[in-house]
């Protein structure tokens, strides 16, 4: 590998989080964008099928993650902590915020049909949503949006990777048989 590719590799290994293209480019201020692009390509090629880890595009950045087929063994050995799962209520709230952002608490409450204050506080605490602005209406309510860590826990490159609402509504019209439910 080229020295630049090795430098990127080292940085991506050192960071436990996705690094953006700008992050990577800043590692060597003398390298141009083209060189960084090429080095990234080199790195992706090097970490092909023949490795236990792979280089993935997540949250507008790049991150090394282990291949899925090794999850069980690593899990069993308990060398690493599995990320905490989100509760259905948390996922529901996140879904609404992801699609309606910026969105206020009242609107989330209304769509869910329950008070969502506690769930939203938890999500803020976990860094999955944040206040992005204030609304126009009465009391200028705080409006929330999703954060890069939200994309990280779903393994998404960007919000565009979420299914489009109109794609979904087509699927929703027919009374869908629940998959995998039959024994």
């Amino acid at each position: 590998m080229s020295p630049l590719a090795k430098l990127l590799e080292a940085a991506l290994f050192a960071a436990a989080r996705p690094l953006t293209f700008e992050d990577l480019a800043s590692l060597d201020p003398e390298a141009g964008e083209m060189a960084v692009e090429a080095a990234l390509g080199e790195l992706r090629a090097a970490y092909g099928d023949d490795h236990g880890v792979e280089l993935l595009e997540i949250a507008d950045g790049w991150q090394f993650l282990t291949r899925r087929e090794y999850a069980e063994a690593i899990d069993r050995a308990q060398f690493a902590l599995r990320p905490r799962r989100l509760s259905p209520a948390a996922l529901e709230t996140l879904a609404i915020i992801a699609y309606r952002q910026p969105v206020g608490r009242l609107e989330v409450d209304e769509i869910r049909g329950v008070d969502s204050g506690a769930v939203m506080d938890k999500l803020v605490e976990r860094g999955l949503i944040e206040v992005v602005t204030r609304g126009e209406g009465l009391g200028r309510p705080l409006l929330y949006g999703t954060t890069p860590p939200f994309l990280e826990i779903l393994g998404l490159k960007s919000l565009d990777d979420l299914p489009r609402l109109d794609e979904l509504s087509v699927a929703l019209r027919r009374p869908a048989p629940i998959p995998d439910d039959d024994p």
């Binding site: 090394f64 529901e92 879904a95 699609y99 049909g113 200028r140 393994g155 979420l162 299914p163 979904l168």
Partner: protein, 241 residues
């Protein structure tokens, strides 16, 4: 046997529902009925039975939904004239919400799968100790700050901009000086009142003080002849009254 995979029928449990809409949607799916033509009477009864079973009939959100369902049921039972075009289906709002909510649940399912797939991958577990370097520089754009200022301004219901106007006039001082003069002499002139080396501010202050004291009846101002000097005379309290 794959006991835990999929699901063997619907096991009703508290955590299973994230709210009244979730429960309602569950009942609708279970009955395989059409959301857009909701059999309200049946669904309402089932809803009431389930929340009583689960002890959710104490939860405000569920109770509110139960009340809503019963109201819609009652409205549907009211007789209406044939060909009444004005009639609004009382179920309409609930149906709209249910469809919207159903879409959200679909997204949740999708996100659940995505999060599950991501959870099968581990990120680097070892985090190197932070470098012994200065912390990252802080960046604030002026635009950001101004936008923040603007947000703050918008927060204040009535923008109260206090303008501090300098008040060089010293009416109080002039009043005190006039009182002192009045205590000594019964009459005196403008030159005495305003004092030596009077500035414009002194003149204005003294003049306002004179007018104020005259109004209060503490003194009288007279000008015996046109363009002549002004005479300031003490007024006794009795006469003033």
């Amino acid at each position: 046997m794959p006991g835990q995979a999929g699901g063997g029928g619907f096991v009703v449990e508290l955590e299973k529902f994230t709210g009244p809409l979730d429960l309602l949607l569950h009942l609708i799916r279970e009955d395989e009925v059409d959301i857009t033509d909701l059999p309200i009477a049946k669904i309402a009864d089932q809803f009431l039975a389930v929340i009583a079973d689960l002890g959710l009939n104490q939860a405000a959100d569920y109770l509110e939904m139960a009340a809503r369902l019963l109201r819609i049921k009652a409205q549907l039972l009211l007789p209406r004239r044939l060909g009444d075009d004005e009639w609004d289906d009382p179920r309409a709002e609930l149906v709209r919400r249910l469809l919207e909510y159903q879409q959200i649940r679909e997204l949740v399912d999708w996100m659940h799968v995505a999060a599950g797939a991501r959870a099968e991958r581990y990120a680097r577990g070892y985090e190197a100790p932070p470098p012994d370097a200065p912390p990252a520089p802080l960046r604030i754009e002026l635009n950001e700050l101004l936008a923040a200022a603007e947000r703050v301004i918008a927060l204040i219901p009535e923008p109260t901009l206090h303008r501090v106007v300098p008040r060089p006039l010293d009416v109080e001082g002039a009043t005190a000086r006039l009182h002192a003069l009045l205590a000594e002499r019964e009459t005196f002139g403008w030159a005495d009142a305003v004092g030596p080396q009077a500035t414009l501010v002194d003149v204005l202050s003294t003049f306002i003080a004179l007018l104020e004291l005259a109004k209060r009846g503490t003194l009288t101002l007279t000008q015996p002849e046109p363009f002549g000097p002004m005479v300031i005379r003490r007024e006794s309290p009795r006469e003033a009254a």
